[in-house]
């Protein structure tokens, strides 16, 4: 092997090792009782399973952290997505939202899932169970729209 290639590879490997020592800011799961979407709103089992599989890792306090989520630089990406995801929508804290925020969020869910903006593409790459079929997306969209109607009438 040419010497410079070897040196370059060693440098990359060294860098990979060094970045492991930087903290990722990985968020913790802090369960809140009685506020999660299923205890506040009617969520059919099928829809519940879909959002648990495809959304909860970033949008709830039930995030599962697979082994590679501990390894930089993936750990940084996971931390960023989960922190950002929860800030926009936390299914575990659904009950804390005002009526208006519920309506707005349901509309966003309907749009983001219908237009295939959610789940994030990079997540689907690593989690085949989040690769929602057309029927799955339709189910979630329909549920979000119906739930919005109900919240509106409340």
């Amino acid at each position: 092997m040419r010497k410079w290639i070897m040196n370059a590879l060693i440098a990359v490997a060294g860098l990979f090792v060094i970045i492991q020592f930087f903290p990722s800011g990985r968020p913790q799961n802090k369960p809140v009782t009685g506020k999660d979407i299923a205890s506040v709103t009617e969520v059919p089992e099928e829809v519940g399973n879909l959002i648990r599989q495809a959304c909860f890792d970033c949008h709830s306090q039930n995030t599962r952290f697979p082994w590679y989520s501990y390894v930089a630089p993936v750990s940084w990406l996971v931390a960023k997505d989960v922190n950002n995801g929860r800030k926009n929508l936390d299914f575990s804290k659904w009950g804390e939202l005002s009526k208006k925020d519920k309506l707005k969020t349901l509309d966003e869910i309907s749009e983001m899932v219908g237009e295939e903006e959610m789940p994030l593409k990079i997540y689907i790459l690593m989690h085949s169970e989040a690769n929602l079929k057309k029927e799955d997306r339709d189910l979630i969209v329909q549920w979000a729209d119906e739930t919005a109607e109900k919240v509106f009438e409340e």
């Binding site: 060693i10 490997a13 990979f16 390894v71 509309d107 309907s110 237009e115 903006e117 593409k121 729209d145």
Partner: protein
């Protein structure tokens, strides 16, 4: 080359490369829009219409070339939305203006005169909130 060193040289870089490649994927968006059933009759007051015209309509209308903006929000279709969707959109307008996310920064860099004045931002937000409150009460 000693075996241990060889393992280090081959595997660590390979592993690193895999992780770096993984992070190199970025997010793409695509999709279609769905049309909700028309329902209520919203009348946009003239002062608000003027604000929309100046700062928003160029991107958020049916004929717009900006597909992302079109998918998310159409001012010309706002009055035809169902009440529920209308409330959501009005609150979204309030949120976007409050967070200074609309009009987009990049657009304002090119067309600074399209920016909302503080008074316009206030009027637009107050109208959006009041209208959505009213719809919720009915």
């Amino acid at each position: 080359m000693k075996k241990s060193k060889k393992v280090f040289v081959i595997w660590l870089p390979a592993l690193s490369a895999i992780f770096i490649l993984l992070t190199a994927f970025s997010y793409f968006g695509s999709g279609t829009s769905n049309t909700p059933p028309p329902d209520d009759n919203l009348v946009i007051p003239e002062n608000i219409n003027n604000i929309f015209d100046k700062s928003c309509f160029g991107c958020h209308n049916t004929e717009s070339k900006n597909d992302k903006a079109k998918e998310k929000f159409l001012i010309d279709k706002l009055p035809g939305l169902s009440k529920v969707k209308m409330v959501s959109k009005l609150d979204k307008i309030n949120e976007m203006v409050e967070k200074n996310e609309m009009p987009p920064e990049k657009f304002l860099a090119k067309f600074p005169d399209k920016a909302l004045t503080p008074e316009e931002a206030k009027a637009l937000r107050e109208w959006a909130v009041a209208t959505s409150d009213l719809l919720l009460k009915k």
